[in-house]
Amino acid sequence: MKKIIYSDQSGKSYTKSEFIRYFEAKVFRTIRKYGMFDKGDKIVVAMSGGKDSVATAHILNQIISKRGEQLEALLIDEGIPGYRDITIKDAKKFCKDEGIKLTIASPKKEFKFTLTQALNKLSKNPCNMCGTLRRYLLNLYAKKLNATKVATGHNLDDEAQTVLMNQYKGNVQLSAKLGPVTGVTEHKKFIRRIKPLYFMTEKEVAIYTTLKGFQVIYTECPKARDSFRSTVRDQINDLENNYPGIKNGIINSFLEMLPRLRKELAPKSKIRECESCQEPAAKKICSMCELLGEYRQAK
């Protein structure tokens, strides 16, 4: 008898090998449909050592070994004790096993403080501060590595949450920056981001990494447990349980609106260069330099 390991929201059942085929084929389709690769690309995977980045790197490694593009991994160690140190170990093991070069960057090396130290000094939302640090260092180091694209492990759940968070907070202009390939406008200093797992649910990614036997921890960042995102995530998961297909519904309707959203908001979303560090910025001074200024002034 066939051992079923997963049934999707439409009721379709999968054995282990059927699930792996389904998962990989869907990610390959996403990559092709959205033209995520160009000939000669050097892709840098934003690696955390968690299930999403590990699944992304593994699948890209399979494709790239056949096509001849280059693949490396970049990990931002923001400094969250008891969490990031575990995922770094997993990332190192994974990259070694897969033969992927791993670079580790950190605010400690770059700015002489960790996220935890900054949080102790400044009363700011940890997820916002972490996002600022990570986005900045990711782009900065991707350029140092001569990357042409940065691949992130964002999945369907992440994107559905962000779409709704932007709606709830009235920040619809931020949603114009979302999508399987990000970037409303192009800028020579901003490396375009691709999201190969865009149509895979968080649960599907966890099943894939478990079936593949990757050593990853399935745990939430301790700083994020009470965040707005976690509230929205719980709401969406409750809805999905009662009305299967909700997550796909959010993303499919969002993707229908996205071209109009980008057209409408592109002129307002021009990327400029920060007057202090010359990195890409939405304002005169980028969020990272603002944060640095606040940190240095705080007692």
């Binding site: 079923i4 390991i5 049934s7 299930k51 999403d52 968080e202 099943i207 399935y218 745990t219 999905e240």
Partner: protein, 69 residues
């Protein structure tokens, strides 16, 4: 009715759950008030679908799939 131990990895706790002949993993998740969308479940260390039935000798582990920030 018999009771089995279910290990919930996220909270690092083991809970006892009553099962009958046709109890499925989904029934157990409902008893424990856990949303099936947010977890994967292993039975005797093997991943399995929530429709699967269990017996008194099975070892169940519930793993939360929620991660990141």
């Amino acid at each position: 009715m018999v009771k089995i131990n279910v290990y919930i990895e996220r909270d690092d706790v083991t809970k006892q759950v009553e099962i009958s002949k046709k109890t499925t993993i989904k029934d157990i998740l409902i008893q424990l008030n856990i949303n099936p969308v947010t977890v994967i479940v292993t039975k005797n260390d093997e991943l399995c679908d929530e429709s699967e039935e269990i017996n008194s000798k099975d070892k169940l582990k519930i793993i939360s799939v929620v991660s990141g920030g």
